[in-house]
Every structure is written in structure tokens, then in C-alpha cells.
Subunit: 144 residues, 2 copies
DNA sequence: CAACGGCATGTTACTGTATAACATCATACA
DNA sequence: TGTATGATGTTATACAGTAACATGCCGTTG
């Protein structure tokens, strides 16, 4: 997807949810966009400092939290990182595969793969929050 | 399970794997044992300092890493914490349910619940490392 | 026994991750 | 115009994790 198109879609997505994709938030989103795969908060912080001179952690964390809340990013807890969500406009159960060797990240749509899991959970009365599962392992190209 | 019995079983478990459950490691394990649910490394550090005067982070992390490696503890990445594994002696796919409201933790055996997931992964050539899935949500008693 | 090797632990110092608390600014709307 | 609300700036600090090196313990082997 073209960058401008993507940003427009992201903006509309936020506005349809009653939020604003402010300049700062968009700037952070663009910075994330420039990194393939997982990106760390402090990496974004450094990028932001390069672009605007000063920036403190809360600035970055607030923007990232906002973007996660809007579904534009996923938080990858196991790695203390963030990745872009390419299909924020359709609700989905994500499955994020992180390769231990090359660090590459792949996002799968796991909708439909989780029924037996959710069954097991409801058997004990547990209601999961919609979320993304993160699994580490080895990707196809690193199998060799 | 009685505490002494548990510790003996843990010791034998380690020895059968060619490792020693040293005094320090056992002490840390006991400290984890005293906390219900998830416990943080720095909590253990504080406990340890209470018991022996001084202790530095590496001491605790090394012991915790060891215990995780032996399968006696699970690491809960999403929470930067650790929980006891109650059935370290049988290999299993764990499913750890963390309640967002009360902080309670429940561990399920997910062996057999993951086939459709692993199918989806192998379809893209991804080999997951054996691990525990951590899900957040709401537990039965907090549903109300 | 002494020397060595391997592992466990101690110690210092640091890097990285994240948030609290409060100040300021912008905007929208009464 | 005043005020409420949300966004951002700023300072300081808490929390999480590790690198690097020193020391101690213990079993093996010459």
C-alpha cells in the first residue's frame, strides 16, 4: 500500500473512532513505517530526536500507546517492541510469528484457528480479551 | 503438594537433568513458592535481601533463569514476571491465563488445543519453539 | 597433595524500558 | 471570554535486565 494512502486510511480510521491522528502521532507512525518488522520505543525516540531536536520517553510512549489502542500497531510484549498492523480496519485475531534467528516478523490471521483454545478457556470460565498471540520459533528461510 | 515434598521432587528433577538445585536456587524457588500467582524478579530480589542482607540483580536473574530452564518456573513475558509450574515433570504445552482485574493466574494444559494453530504455522513454514502461551482476560470470579 | 578446570556466586556498573507527576498549550464549545 | 478537555512538554525516577570481571567451591587428575 502506498504510504500516503495508508496514512489517509489511518487518519480516517482514527476519526471514525472519535480520535485525532495528530501531527505527532502521525510522525511516530511514519517512523514505525520506516522500519521493517519489530521496532523498539527507544529506537523511535532516537528517530524523533533526530527529526525534532528534543523528545522525551513519555512523548513516544503516549503516541505508541495511542496507535496500539487504535489498532494501527501491535505490541509485541515478548520483545518489548511494536509492529505495524496491516489490516487495522477489519477486526481479527492476530498471530504474530517472530523468528529467533533473523528477527523477522510475520503476521497471520488466526481467526478460526483458535476455537479449540477458546473452548478450553471457556471451560474454566475465562473470557479472553481480544489480542494477538506472539510465538517465537524459526521461519522458513532460517530452517536450513 | 506439601512444600518439602515439592522441593525434593524439584531437586530430583534437576539432578536427573544433570544439574544441581543449589542452596541459592532452592532459596529463590522457595521465595517464588510463597507468592500466589505471578511474581517479579525485583520482588524476589527484595525478599532475598531481607533474608540474607545483600543481593544484586544478577544473583536473582541467574537463579530464575536456571529455574525456568529446568521447567520449574514459567516466564510470563507480558508481565515481566514468573510463575510456578506445578507439573514440571511431564512435558506439556502450557496455557497461562492472567486475569486483568484480580491479577490471578491459572495454568491450563493446552496440549491438544493447538493443532489448528500449529497447522496454520506450518502452512507458512514456521516452526514454533515449545513455549507457553499467555493470554489476558477476565477470570470466572471477576466476570460479575 | 597440588594444580587445574568448570561451574556457581559475588560485585560493580551500566543499558534499556516505562511511568508518575506536574506544567503548558491548543481547541472547542458554552 | 472563560472554562473544560485532551494533547504535549518536562523532569525525575522506578523498574527490568545484562556485561564484565572477581571470587569461591569442588571434583578430577597428574
Amino acid at each position: 500500500m502506498d504510504k500516503t494512502v495508508y496514512l489517509d486510511a489511518a487518519r480516517r480510521h482514527c476519526e471514525s473512532r472519535g480520535c485525532r491522528l495528530t501531527e505527532l502521532r502521525q510522525q511516530v507512525l511514519e517512523l514505525v513505517l520506516e522500519h521493517p518488522g519489530v521496532v523498539k520505543a527507544y529506537q523511535i525516540l532516537a528517530d524523533l530526536q533526530r527529526e525534532r531536536g528534543v523528545a522525551a520517553p513519555p512523548t513516544v510512549y503516549r503516541a505508541l500507546d495511542f496507535l496500539v489502542e487504535q489498532g494501527l500497531l501491535h505490541r509485541v510484549e515478548a520483545l518489548n517492541g511494536f509492529i505495524l498492523c496491516h489490516h487495522f480496519d477489519c477486526p481479527h485475531d492476530g498471530l504474530i510469528l517472530v523468528c529467533e534467528r533473523c528477527g523477522g516478523v510475520e503476521e497471520l490471521d488466526a481467526t478460526g484457528c483458535l476455537t479449540s483454545l477458546t473452548d478450553a478457556m471457556s471451560a474454566v470460565g475465562f473470557t479472553p480479551r481480544a489480542q494477538n498471540l506472539v510465538l517465537t520459533g524459526t521461519c522458513r528461510s532460517c530452517q536450513a
